[in-house]
């Protein structure tokens, strides 16, 4: 077993601005989000991003010619005009690192490229922070102020998502995934929460909780992501060969800025998934009596002592639930169960999970450099002591928001990170590299390199296709159905042979990447 698998993290960012239109009204968040995405493409160096007039290729299933792709090509021709109009509905770009940066609902969203390990997921998630920051700085240079927040709630009822994606073999029954993951996901904020001031969807009760999202969960299993949000999302959109793969879409997690927290979030889930794939009988047999309520009970108790009831009458804390899952994973990994390899990445994740879980049981405050909700709570408690402030004091609420500001001069998490108080797993150079270069070992490499080398000839792209213009002006699609194909190893020589998409396309058809 290994915790390695194809995965990625999508983050919708909170956005505010003091900009107003000609009538003095605040600009809409849709327009502001469009500004951010367009500013990144405009401000980045050549080859760093597709022009925002190019399209996202939605027609996953239709080969070669694509009506939408063709329309997008027309749109591209009018790019300068569109930029003037700043129509935010088309603000979409694909980056040289293989990520997508676009407007989703009323938020800028960074969807990381496909990576194959939790550490890489951390690195490309941090790269997303830099992309957003670069966009805000470009706007600031034009006198357009925009602030971006890597959080998931406004404290007044609105929530926006951080979604994790995990590639899972189609052979694993979905019902099994749903049943086995619910208790784990209910408890995961203990090691993976970002912390939140206020209890309830509109912060109607004062207090502090572990998770940004717990109070917005309303169902156990469902298709929705914007209302009646479920613990397990059933969207079946694999973005990969459908009969081989499903994409588990996890919508309950928090946006995180502490490296170890991000690592634990995706690493622990990937480990439990692997257990489910290789030895389903070893997954802890626990069914919660009321999972949605349990998620809130666990989130609302920073002492970690609150218990939730199982169907067979046991009362377990979040730590107990995570302990059971970690023990099962350790047993399989350390015990060398069939199909499990204790590689470096697996050692890192399981080791960190064990250390953090043991430390949380003894003294949660000792995890302030690793677990984000603990880090936030430590800072807020220190402030409350000094100022005599209650949990509903506006200064405490302001700090909760300010924690997530992506401007390193203002963001409290970033300030603590810079002061060495949030442990780092990836340094600035590695993050900068992740902004510029795609992961080498997935199809994101081909996507990102095509953007970098042939950007002006790319009409559209998606997770599993790239739509290119050939020399006769025809639009042709290259399909990328396998997430671990079209890697650097497989396509670097091919791309090096061609300086124009026309000749590249000739070879691609025969090679069928």
């Amino acid at each position: 077993m290994t915790v390695r698998r194809v995965m990625g993290i999508e983050t919708e960012l909170g956005i505010t601005s003091d900009q107003v239109d000609a009538q003095g009204r605040p600009l809409t968040p849709m327009l502001l989000s469009g500004q951010v995405v367009q500013a990144y493409a405009a401000g980045a160096h050549a080859g760093a991003a597709l022009p925002t007039g190019s399209g996202w290729d939605y027609a996953d299933e239709t080969p070669l010619r694509d009506a939408r792709g063709y329309e997008m090509a027309r749109a591209l021709a009018d790019r300068s005009q569109l930029t003037d109009v700043e129509d935010p509905t088309i603000a979409n770009t694909v980056l040289a690192n293989g990520a997508r940066f676009y407007v989703d609902h009323a938020h800028p969203e960074y969807s990381s490229p496909e990576v194959t390990s939790p550490t890489e997921a951390v690195r490309y998630d941090r790269a997303g922070e830099q992309v957003a920051l670069a966009a805000a700085r470009t706007l600031a240079g034009r006198g357009q102020q925009v602030r971006l927040y890597k959080n998931n709630v406004d404290g007044k009822g609105a929530s926006y998502g951080t979604h994790e994606n995990y590639l899972v073999p189609r052979t694993v029954p979905f019902e099994r995934i749903a049943r086995d993951l619910i208790p784990f996901l209910v408890a995961r904020p203990v090691i993976a929460g970002a912390g939140r001031v206020g209890l309830g969807q509109t912060s109607e009760r004062p207090g502090f909780q572990l998770s940004q999202r717990a109070d917005y969960l309303e169902a156990e299993v469902g298709l929705e992501t914007t209302l009646r949000r479920p613990i397990i999302n059933t969207r079946d959109e694999p973005h990969a060969t459908p009969h081989l793969w499903r994409r588990l879409h996890v919508i309950v997690g928090d946006a995180t800025m502490a490296d170890v927290t991000t690592l634990l979030a995706v690493g622990s889930l990937s480990a439990v998934l692997r257990l489910l794939e290789t030895d389903p009988g070893a997954v802890p047999d626990v069914t919660l009596r009321a999972p949605v309520a349990a998620a809130q009970v666990i989130s609302h108790d920073p002492t970690l002592r609150a218990t939730v009831e199982t169907l067979d009458g046991r009362h377990l804390t979040g730590l107990d639930l995570l302990e059971a899952h970690l023990e099962a994973v350790e047993e399989a990994a350390v015990g060398g169960h069939e199909g499990w390899v204790l590689d470096e990445e697996t050692r890192l994740v399981l080791g960190r999970w064990r250390t953090v879980l043991d430390a949380l049981r003894v003294d949660p405050a000792s995890c302030a450099a690793q677990v984000e909700w603990v880090a936030k709570l430590s800072l807020l408690e220190r402030f409350r002591d000094r100022a005599g402030a209650a949990w509903d004091d506006p200064r405490v609420q302001a700090m909760d928001i300010q924690w997530h500001d992506l401007d390193p001069a203002r963001g409290l998490a970033l300030r603590l990170r810079a002061a060495g108080q949030l442990e780092r797993l990836v340094d600035d150079a590695a993050i900068a590299a992740a902004v510029a270069e795609p992961p080498a070992d997935t199809r994101a490499w081909f996507r990102g390199e095509v953007v970098r080398r042939f950007g002006t000839d790319v009409r559209a792209a998606s997770w599993d296709s790239v739509v290119l213009l050939d020399e006769r002006g025809r639009v042709r699609r290259v399909q990328l159905p396998e997430p671990t194909s079209a890697t650097r190893e497989q396509t670097a020589a091919l791309l090096d042979r061609h300086t124009r998409t026309a000749s590249l396309l000739t070879e691609l058809v025969s090679e069928d990447v």
């Binding site: 609902h105 938020h107 926006y160 059971a324 220190r382």
Partner: protein, 66 residues
């Protein structure tokens, strides 16, 4: 192992350990260093929070997303 034990007992055998980049400081020293860092950050933001917090929180309104 019974179900009950499974959720209450702890493992004895070795789990993989992380290799910390720096040797961990003694807990006391760690706490003191952390408090100093928190205080230094709080000293810097105190004035700003005092004047703007209410309006800032009031104006932080987002549209729901996914």
């Amino acid at each position: 192992m019974s179900e009950q034990q499974k959720f209450t007992s702890r493992r004895d055998d070795a789990a993989p350990e992380p290799e910390p980049a720096v040797p961990p400081a003694a807990p006391q020293a760690q706490h003191a260093e952390r408090d100093a860092a928190l205080d230094s950050l709080l000293d810097e933001i105190d004035g700003v929070l005092e004047t703007n917090a209410q309006e800032f929180v009031h104006n932080f309104v987002q549209k729901g997303g996914q």
